[in-house]
Point group: C2
Chain length 344, copies 2
């Protein structure tokens, strides 16, 4: 485990896939823990590396839904808020809630600009094909976020068509939110396109950790409206971990195992953002290779270092089935683990 | 591009995912090109790194099928031989041929010890679920290899039950084949379990390249029986690239684009083995992260360096759709490319 060192980057943690105890593949992972004042307390690898946080930014993207008054105007529930920050697995519990929310807005799947992909959950995909149905935009892991954006546009009188485009006022507003919460000027953030066709901004890994830390201590670092919004997002996040991702994902399992003490949000290409409200700390993680499982493993390490995962939680986390390699006939074949710090 | 350097490892090539031109994720990839005399002609990264070649070893695993006389006794076709070295995508063209071969042996799917997984091809999986069918061992990407092993056992009078276990005489024979062709003593090879529950051996990356090079010049480096077996495997490999993997895979597409000049075999966790018969060269590639797409990209680079991919082939290879990132709605979002050497 490394200690804080801001003069030279600490070595990245390496998460290795071991096959029968022999190393097979390696992932370098950078991680940062920051407090709401912006101080970096722990760093592995390059805390200042510019990364695309992808869906780890969803809690920030949801702020305008609350700050605009749209959430109150449309009586958005905590379950719906959890879906607004979710990368969900496309299970009926996700899809049906987003569909009901969209209908309440008077909109349909035709208004969603996220595109369609089969549910991330293999069983949900199987059920869909059993029924000879096709994936639609509701199955897109980002459908809740897109519905939240549509609600914001309706409430503000902004056009709903084209809400996903970089020049749309809502996306411009969200870019300002990134700048205000991460401390990175909007003009300094490289811009790309995400899988769901929304703008994808890049920023220093430490900036993501700082924004997350501010969610952990909103009253000290946000104006009253934003602090209230952040508190509501955190409440929804903590109480509905199964809606933020889904069963058999580390994102959901780790939140459940910590009893909601850690709020975590994965992003594509091996990213996590998260916070520990009772410690007032934020965290940000990026696997250089983009590996999800490596980011999962490193998130477990960070939660252990912070003491959020005690010995019991740590043992359960590191025993989760997706950290194991198993043959298709069920023989144990290997496991993912950080080179240091994982139980033997 | 690096040049041969056997005193110090050359830098690994880095394959990067760029999002709108900005780097998002990186993969370090090692690669070796060797000749049949065992000389390393090109090396990127650590040529002596111990790697699990996984399914890149299938052409070696198929040698006993031919050397034992089983292939002749059971009138095994070139299509079936291609499937014996395949990691196929579970399309009907793969599954039906393996099923027919297995039936001709008087065996059934119950005899396959590879386990079941949904077809790698998403459309094939969709069709299966449309029909309310379940994946069975024929859909396993290794089903052809397992059928070839069963044929070998039948012909040699070895027990078929348990043919996949490390202590079975066929697996012991295959371990000797690895030693004889790669130049690595059997006792020096770490052993694990593969996804299909067969033994998985680890060996130096350069050893895999040397074994592949010997397939390219079999008469100079193998006894007559093995040389004949290697020639038949190469003939099947070159003439049925679509059976060795499947449509829309780099493994098959690259072989097709080179008109069969390059014989390529992917392995799980970012591995390729391959050869260029007319140059008498073998190649071996391993992405440190285990990324398939990074291994694909590096294979394209090696084929370019060797001149197997001329300017036209190179442009087509690098324009293949899976090297692009596209949003679910079809917007261009990014691309994978080696930092050096990819067309601008």
């Amino acid at each position: 485990m490394s200690t804080p060192d801001r003069t030279a980057p600490a070595a990245p943690e390496t998460v290795t896939l071991f096959r029968n105890g022999y190393p097979e593949s390696h992932h370098r992972v950078s991680a940062v823990v920051a407090d709401a004042a912006g101080r970096v307390l722990h760093a592995w690898g390059d805390a200042d590396a510019t990364v695309f946080p992808r869906s780890a930014l969803k809690p920030l993207q949801a702020l305008p839904l609350l700050e605009s008054g749209a959430a109150d105007a449309f009586a958005v529930s905590d379950e719906e808020l959890a879906l607004a920050i979710a990368s969900h697995n496309g299970l009926p519990m996700h899809v049906e809630r987003v569909a009901a929310w969209l209908a309440r807005l008077g909109l349909s799947t035709d208004d969603l600009e996220c595109g369609a992909h089969p549910p991330f959950d293999a069983g949900a995909t199987k059920s869909l094909y059993h029924d000879h149905a096709e994936p639609n935009p509701l199955h897109n892991n980002c459908s809740g976020k897109h519905t939240g954006m549509l609600a914001t546009c309706l409430h503000l009188g902004l056009p709903t068509a084209g809400y996903s485009r970089p020049e749309h006022p809502l996306q411009q507003r969200i870019l300002e939110v990134y700048a205000e919460t991460t401390g990175t000027p909007a003009a300094a953030m490289p811009q790309g396109i995400d899988g769901c066709s929304l703008p994808a901004a890049a920023m220093p890994l430490a900036g993501l950790a700082r924004a997350m830390a501010r969610f952990a201590a909103p009253d000290d670092h946000f104006a009253a409206d934003r602090a209230a919004a952040a508190r509501r997002i955190c409440r929804a996040w903590a109480t509905h971990p199964e809606l933020v991702a889904g069963p058999s994902t580390f994102n959901t399992d780790a939140m459940t195992l910590t009893g909601g003490r850690a709020l975590l949000k994965r992003g594509a290409q091996g990213v996590y953002g998260g916070l520990v409200p009772d410690l007032g700390l934020g965290l940000a993680i990026k696997a250089e290779s983009g590996s999800s499982i490596a980011a999962d493993a490193m998130t477990a390490v960070v939660l252990r270092v912070l003491g959020v995962a005690d010995e019991t939680i740590w043992r359960r986390m590191t025993d989760l089935p997706y950290f194991k390699e198993t043959s298709w006939r069920g023989l144990p074949a290997g496991e993912y683990r950080p080179v240091e710090g994982w139980p033997g």
